[in-house]
Structure formats: structure tokens, C-alpha cells
Amino acid sequence: MTLGAEQPTDEDLVAAVLGGDRDRFGELVDRYQGRLVNYLFRLLRNVDDAHDLAQEVLVKVYQVLDRYDPQYKFSTWLFRVAQNAAIDQIRRRRLKLVSLRQDDDEGEGRDWDLPSLERGPYGEMRNQERADAIQEAIDSLPWEYRELILLRHQGELPYEEIAQLKQMPLGTVKNKLFRGRQMLKEKLQDFLTD
């Protein structure tokens, strides 16, 4: 093997899996698990649900992998499936939009693991405050902006893929992301200078 050999593309990995090398699907899981779980977490507001649904989405994608059309990016397809699954789940379960803070007040321990940015009692409190503020700011965005912001920031999809996924003109995607970010920036102003 040569040094600096290029990584296989997602499409190469899909082709390998379809060719019978089932283990290569693990590489796709490696590539997308972080983005997928965080994207779903921001939509579902529960880390266990996000993990469960991310697993369901990946299994579902595997089951119909032979229907994947390589003219589209694998990530576009994956996040389209994830978004539809999340919307279904939100509708089905009628998620109660209680704040993360309220969960704590009710005595339910937080089972999700946010990176510890600041240490000590004050730091922990500040981390929590920040995490709550981010979630509330995202939740307060109108859906049409929220979905694009999450696809961009959590899914890390490029503009072109978002446009393809949402079947929107590229200019509309840019415009909505711009406006969505402005709204987020205003709501999170206090935390931007930390």
C-alpha cells in the first residue's frame, strides 16, 4: 500500500458492501455515527432516542442498499432517511418539549454525555446553562431554518447536498442558512464571548 493512499469514497464502500464485503459497512458507520447521532439528538432532544433512531436508520439503509443510486451522494440519502425517520418519531410520540432544565428539576438524572468544557461547580453550571441555551435557541427557530441549520452544523452537509436533499435552489439554502444563523447568533449572544 502506498503512503497517503486516498480514502475510499462512500460510494466505493457501498459498492464493496454490495459486492459481498459486509464488514465495509462498519466504515460507513464510523464516518457518520457522530454526525447522525448529534443531528438526531438536536431533533429528538433525547440522547437515547437519538442513538436508537440512528441505529434504526443505518439498519434501514443497509436493508435497501441495493436501491442506492450512486448519482447522489450517500450522505444526502442517509440524512434524508434520518430526517424522515425523525419526523415520523416526533409525530408518533408527540414529544413533550420540556426543557432539559425541567428534566433535572423532576429528578431525572441526565444520561447524556456532553463534553466537559469547564471544570468545577461553577464551570459545570455554566456548561449546563450553555447546553440548555443552545437547545432552546435551536428549538425556537422556525422549522424551515432549523432543519437547514441542523443539516449544516450537525450533519455537516455541504450546501449543494442540502439543496438536493430539500429540493431547494442553492440560493434559497444560502439565504435560509444566513437568516437562521443570524437568529441563532442573537439568541446565543451571551455565550459567544465565553
Binding site: 459486509r22 459497512f25 441505529q55 441495493d66 456532553l114 463534553p115 443552545i134 450546501y159 444566513f178 444563523r181
Partner: protein
């Protein structure tokens, strides 16, 4: 040339943060930033927002990948991929080789094992097609005769009707039970 207005620069800043600003516009933006404190502050805010969102990501469970791989079912397409066909294909080639050795003509054997194997396989295929066609014709003929007998007698026709309806009812009941069990299991 007309210079972009302030809002355009702000849009460009967003594109820049996402790495989507073309090089020409980036140069122009840098020139603007050098003399505009407001836009510099805007860029700082955008970068801080990006960092804030990146820092507050949840960790993925250590067992997540293994859980996903363990949950992968055997799918329909897996049964069609080449690896699955490799074994049956090897068996077929082996049988064809044995057939060639046993039944290949002496002349073709002299011409080489490849030609001999091809002839034997063609023979086998021809015989299979002939046998299949004969069986099909015989089946249709027999079925035609049986239907003729049934139609000729009203009694037989009635019995056949009752039999068909009973079988349909039985099938319907079994399917309904299975569906009820599935619904129960999902709950």
C-alpha cells in the same frame, strides 16, 4: 465597478465560515474587513457560534458501531450478490467437468478438454429443455382432461366449488391470526 453593500459582505462572511466563498470574493472581503470594524466583529461572532455548536456535541456510545453491525439483518440483495453465487457456480462447473469426462465424444476429447466440456454442457442443456417442454405439455394436457371431466358432471363441479371456498376461508383465517399476532408483538 460598483462595490457590494454591507449586507452582501455579511452574506459573504457566512459563506466564508462554511468554506463556500469563491477566492475572488474572498480577496474582496479581506480588503473590506481591513477597514470595517463592524464586519470584523460579525466574523468573530460567526466563528464563535460555529465553535459553540461544535463544542456542545454529544458523545456517541462506545458500543454504537458494534450494536449497528450486530443488528444488520440478512437482506434480499445479499442473496443475489456474487459471493453467494460463487459456490453454486463452482458446483455447476465441477458437474459439467464430470459430464464432459464421462460423456464427451472421443473426437472432441481429442480437440481438447474445453471443447469437450462445452459440448457436454450443451447436451445437458438441450436434454433439460426437451424434458421440460415434454413435461409442460403433458401437464397442460392432463389438466385439460381433468377440467373437462369436472365440468361434465354437476356433482363434481359442486364438490370442487365447496373445496375451493373452504380452502380460501382457511387461508384467510390463518392470515388474519398471523396479522393479529404481529400487531400484538409490536405493542
Amino acid at each position: 465597478m460598483k462595490r457590494p453593500d454591507h449586507n452582501t459582505y455579511r452574506e459573504w462572511l457566512n459563506l466564508e465560515v462554511d468554506g463556500q466563498l469563491p477566492p475572488l470574493q474572498r480577496t474582496e472581503l479581506e480588503q473590506h474587513l481591513a477597514g470595517c470594524a463592524e464586519c470584523r466583529a460579525e466574523r468573530e461572532d460567526l466563528l464563535a457560534l460555529e465553535a459553540l455548536l461544535q463544542k456542545n456535541r454529544v458523545s456517541v456510545r462506545a458500543s454504537f458501531k458494534d450494536d449497528v453491525l450486530a443488528a444488520l439483518p440478512t437482506t434480499g440483495w445479499e442473496n443475489r450478490h456474487p459471493k453467494t453465487w460463487a459456490f453454486p457456480a463452482a458446483v455447476f462447473v465441477l458437474l459439467a467437468g464430470i459430464a464432459a469426462a464421462l460423456f464427451g465424444s472421443a473426437e472432441l476429447s481429442a480437440a481438447g478438454p474445453g471443447a469437450s466440456a462445452l459440448l457436454a454442457m450443451a447436451d445437458m442443456l438441450g436434454s433439460t429443455v426437451q424434458a421440460g417442454a415434454g413435461l409442460l405439455a403433458a401437464t397442460w394436457k392432463g389438466l385439460g382432461m381433468a377440467v373437462g371431466e369436472v365440468i361434465a358432471s354437476p356433482m363434481s363441479l359442486g364438490v370442487l366449488g365447496v373445496l375451493v371456498i373452504s380452502l380460501n376461508l382457511l387461508l384467510f383465517t390463518l392470515l388474519r391470526r398471523r396479522r393479529a399476532a404481529e400487531v400484538e408483538r409490536r405493542r
